[in-house]
C-alpha cells in the first residue's frame, strides 16, 4: 500500500469525524501558532529595531560621543545612573582633539539640545526640540531639505539667528504656507527660517519631525548647554566599516584627552547603532530561548492528545482492523494506516497553526507599528514538527493495532 493511499484513507476517516479530529489536533495547533507568531513578531521587531530604531536614530555610518548611552531600553540600576550623571560632559577641547586626531575620514558636528522649549509664531505657541549644531550635522544625519537651504559658513561662524525646521514644526506653525523667510521666536529672540527638512516619519508612534535646528553658535545654545560643553559630538563616515574604525579611534583619543589610565573605565560613551540594539538583542535572544520550551510543551501535550485519540480509535475500530486483515492487510499496512492517520491529523493541526500564527502576526502588524516578518524557515519547521509529532504519537497505537489477532478483532463489537 502506497503512502498516498494511506493519506487518502486517513483523510477520509478524519473527514467523517470532523469535530473529534479538530479537538485532537488543537494541541499541535496551539504549539505551531506559538511558533509562527512568536518567530514572526520577534523577527518583525528585529527588523523594525534595526531599520527604524537604530539606523533611523543613529545611522549605520555615524556615531556619537556623549557622556552616557543615548538609548537605554534595558534595566539600568540607580547606581549606574548616578555614575553616568557624575560623568563630565564632552567639552570643546575634547571635540577639537578628536576632530584633529582621528585619522579615519569623518565629518564632525557638535550638538546641544533642549527637548522641550517654547516656540512662538504670531499668537501660536508650542513646545519643540531645539538643537544647536554645526552645519555638518545635516550631512551626518542624512537630512535632505524639502525647501530652502542649510546654514552658510558665515551664519555658522557668527552664530546668526537662523533656523532649519522639521516637517511637524512647519505643519504646526505654518500650515499651507512656505515658512522659508518667515520668523519664529525662541526664548524671546526672533529667528529667520532658512530651510525645512523632509519628513522623517515616526518611531513607536513618536514623530521624528518635531525639531528646530539653529547654528551651533546661535544664541539659543545657551538655553541647552552650559558654557564650553556639548551634549553630543556626532561623526559621520562613508561606510559602516569606516564608522567602526572611526568609533574605535574616537574612543582611544577620548581616553587620551581625559587622561584615563589603562584599566580605568571609560567615563564617556561612544553610541553606535549596534550599541543601541544591544538591549533588544538580549530580549530577542531570551524570547528565542524561551520559544522552544513553549512550543515543545504544546507539542508534547498535542502529541499525547493525538496518541490518546489514536489509542481510542484503535479500540473503537478493532472490528475494522479485523476486517482489513481478513481482506489481506498486512501488519505494515495497518501500521502505516494508523501512523499516517496520526501524522495527517497532526500535520493538519500544524497547517491550521500556521494560518492562525500568520493571523496573529498580521493582527500585531495591523494594530502596532511593528511589521510582521514571517520567516520561511519557521513554516518549514512547523510542518516538520507537525509530521514528526504525529508519527511519534502514532507509532505506539499503530503497532498495537497491527498486532491484533484478526480472529479476535473480527469478533469485537
Amino acid at each position: 500500500m502506497r503512502l498516498l493511499e494511506a493519506v487518502r484513507m486517513a483523510l477520509r476517516t478524519i473527514r467523517t469525524q470532523k469535530l473529534k479530529s479538530f479537538f485532537s489536533l488543537i494541541g499541535v495547533l496551539i504549539g505551531v501558532t506559538f511558533l509562527i507568531a512568536v518567530v514572526s513578531i520577534v523577527q518583525g521587531m528585529n527588523r523594525y529595531m534595526e531599520e527604524r530604531f537604530a539606523n533611523g536614530l543613529i545611522g549605520v555610518n555615524s556615531f556619537e560621543v556623549r557622556r552616557m548611552p543615548a538609548i537605554e531600553t534595558g534595566n539600568v540600576t540607580a547606581d549606574t545612573w548616578r555614575e553616568w550623571l557624575r560623568r563630565p560632559r564632552v567639552n570643546y577641547r575634547e571635540a577639537n582633539f578628536l576632530k584633529e586626531r582621528v585619522k579615519t575620514p569623518a565629518i564632525w558636528a557638535r550638538v546641544c539640545w533642549e527637548r522641550e522649549l517654547d516656540v512662538v509664531v504670531g499668537n501660536l505657541r508650542g513646545r519643540v526640540e531645539i538643537q544647536a549644531a554645526d552645519n555638518e550635522f545635516f550631512r551626518i544625519k542624512g537630512y535632505r531639505l524639502a525647501s530652502g537651504r542649510t546654514f552658510t559658513p558665515q551664519e555658522s561662524q557668527t552664530g546668526a539667528s537662523v533656523v532649519v525646521i522639521g516637517d511637524l514644526v512647519r505643519e504646526t506653525f505654518f500650515p499651507n504656507l512656505d515658512p522659508v523667510g518667515r520668523e519664529l521666536s525662541i526664548a524671546g529672540i526672533p529667528y529667520r527660517i532658512v530651510g525645512v527638512v523632509e519628513q522623517q516619519g515616526s518611531l513607536f508612534g513618536i514623530s521624528l519631525d518635531r525639531f528646530v535646528i539653529a547654528p551651533f553658535n546661535a544664541p539659543v545654545r545657551r538655553e541647552a548647554c552650559a558654557q564650553n560643553v556639548i551634549h553630543e559630538l556626532w561623526a559621520g563616515t562613508d561606510s559602516p566599516d569606516q564608522m567602526q574604525r572611526a568609533a574605535r579611534e574616537a574612543e582611544e583619543y577620548m581616553r587620551i584627552a581625559r587622561g584615563l589610565r589603562p584599566g580605568q573605565e571609560n567615563n564617556f560613551y561612544v553610541q553606535t547603532a549596534e550599541g543601541a540594539l544591544g538591549t533588544w538583542d538580549k530580549i530577542s535572544r531570551i524570547l528565542f530561548l524561551a520559544l522552544p520550551g513553549l512550543v515543545g510543551i504544546s507539542l508534547v501535550v498535542g502529541g499525547i492528545v493525538i496518541m490518546n485519540i489514536m489509542l481510542m480509535a484503535v479500540s473503537e475500530r478493532t472490528r475494522e482492523i479485523g476486517i482489513r486483515k481478513a481482506l489481506g492487510a498486512r501488519r505494515r499496512d495497518i501500521l502505516a494506516q494508523f501512523v499516517v492517520e496520526a501524522a495527517t491529523l497532526s500535520t493538519a493541526g500544524a497547517a491550521f497553526g500556521i494560518l492562525t500564527g500568520f493571523g496573529l502576526a498580521y493582527a500585531v502588524q495591523a494594530f502596532s507599528p511593528l511589521p510582521a516578518a514571517v520567516a520561511p524557515w519557521s513554516i518549514g519547521l512547523a510542518v516538520f514538527l507537525g509530521v514528526s509529532v504525529g508519527v511519534v504519537a502514532g507509532v505506539y497505537p499503530a503497532s498495537r493495532a497491527s498486532r491484533l489477532d484478526p480472529i479476535v478483532a473480527l469478533r469485537a463489537e
Binding site: 500500500m1 493511499e5 475494522e320 476486517i323 481482506l327 501488519r331 473480527l410
Partner: protein, 233 residues
Amino acid sequence: MSDAVIRIRDLTRDYVMGAETVRALRGVSMDIDPNEYVAIMGPSGSGKSTLMNLIGCLDTPSSGEYWLNGQEVSRLSDNRLATVRNKEIGFVFQTFNLLARATALHNVELPLVYAGVPASERRGRAVRALEAVGLADRMQHRPNELSGGQRQRVAIARALVNQPSILLADEPTGNLDSTTSEEIMRLFGELHDSGQTVIMVTHEPDIAAFAGRVIVLRDGQVASDRLNREQAA
C-alpha cells in the same frame, strides 16, 4: 488429487486456556476440488469455526498439513498469510463486516487496495463486481443506507473482486430473513454454476441443502462427509 483446491491432512488445533488445553480440532482430513459447493455443519463446539478460521488462513494449525491451491500454507508467517487471504480467499460473514464509514464501492475496492492494484484499475473492477451482484445503483451508498440483503451482496462483491480460489462463507444467511436468505442462496448457486468454489459454514440444514456436499463435524472430527442426495439426484 493434486488438482484439489483444498487438501487438508490430520489438521489439529489446540487452544491453551490457563492450565487447560482445549483440543478444538483432533485430526481433520479432507480434499475439496475446484468448483465444489461444500457446506460444513456441526453443533456449536464441534470445531467448525476453528476449521473455518484455518481454511480462511486467519489461524495456523497446531499440527497437520493444509495445501491451498497447491501451496502449503500451514506454516506461513503472518504477512504471507495476509497475502494468501488477499489473493485466494473471499470472505462472507454472518454480520457482513462492511466498513460502516465507507461506501459500497469503497468497501469492494479494499481487497484491491491491499493487492496493490492501481486506483484507476481498482474502480472499474469494483464497479463490475457490484454490477455482478445487482447493485449497480447502490455503489455510493453507505452500509447503513442498505438493506441486509444488499449489505450481504456488497460483501459478496467484495469477496469476489480479487477472483479468489474459494468463496468462504460463515453463516451467510444468519442475519437475514427467509426471503432474503433464499436470494443470497440463489446468488451462491449462480456463482457456483459459473465455476466458483464455495465453502459455507452453517448450522441450518435448509441452508446446507443448497450445497452439493455436506461435511458434518462433531467433537473436532469429521463425523460424516457425503454428497447431498437432493443435489446428486
